[in-house]
């Protein structure tokens, strides 16, 4: 469920970015980079920062 919500949030944000500026939804590679960053990169970074904080 958590993963699904993460993808859903990523989808909403990416749709918003695409509506704001269509150059960000030009190719598949932008979608790929965004989803990897949002679903893998950011949670990984948050996890690392939390561990460091503890």
């Amino acid at each position: 469920m958590r993963t699904f919500l993460l993808y859903l949030a990523a989808g909403i944000v990416f749709t918003g970015i695409g509506i704001w500026n269509q150059n960000f939804i030009y190719s598949y590679f932008e979608g790929l980079a965004f989803v990897c960053l949002f679903v893998v990169g950011i949670p990984y970074l948050v996890k690392r920062l939390r561990r460091r904080g503890v």
């Binding site: 993808y7 990523a10 989808g11 990416f14 749709t15 695409g18 509506i19 269509q22 939804i25 598949y28 932008e30 979608g31 790929l32 989803v35 990897c36 679903v39 893998v40």
Partner: protein, 306 residues
Amino acid sequence: MSWAAHDLEPYVIQKHLGKKVAFMPLLFGSYAPDMFTKWFVYGIGFFGYEIRASDPARFHRGWPGVGFTHSLPFGLLIALIIYGVWRKPIIAYSFLIGHWAHSLTDTGDTVGTMLFFPFTTHLFSIGAWAYAGELGRQVDAGAYFSGLGFVWDGFWLVWAALSWKVLTRDYFRREVMAGDPFYRWAAKSLSETLLLAVYRAAFFYGATRWVAWIVWAHFLQGSALYNGKRYRFKFDLSWGGPHWVHAIQSSTVNAAAASCPCPCCRAARRTLFAYGCVAVLVKVKQFRQRLSACSAAGRQILTARE
């Protein structure tokens, strides 16, 4: 052209063929016909200069142009090259399925595709929605998402969403990893979460892009300007629509190119294609021989060291 179908079709195909196809080459095949050419249709700017095809429709789908990238024999040729390099039939035919799906999908617009190039430059077209690539990306998008094109993409979106099980982690482990050599290779060094994100990315991109363009065209912008003329994006779901935009027709795209019906010109295309195929196969064979010679030499060096 299709704006989201090429992203979503591979998931539906994956659902039906399971382990029999490799997803990455399937997706690559689905993108391949437009991969290196689409940017030139709409143009791109560099330091104030814009480069763009003078006749976008002919460049994209016709001949002379790069329309041959949408032909079925071209897909077969690339699949043979892939097979020659990797020697894995699953990679080659998965690419071929993706490529042919793209070529057949693009026959839906008013320009269509040269399905049997180089044997004929005839453009096969169903003519369901208007091709307006010559009017720039925004007007083209507005026209596409106002006509039957958006219904077509919506159909694939619904079908892909109904095949949601292919997006699950369990399915990815059981079917995709088992069928696709790329993911098996990548799994040696990358995490499963990252590979899953890569696998789901095309669905994510297709779905968000479809929603974003519809919202932009019909709920926010409503119109776009091209060369001083304003185009208002009204829904027109009639065949070949929307009719508020001048659609390029298949009959006009290759009209000049097909004007030389002499036997010499007609035969030359086929002969050149046959020579080209032979040349490519010979090169692939030579490349493989060199590779095997190199690997044999490498093995000898390693044994000598030991």
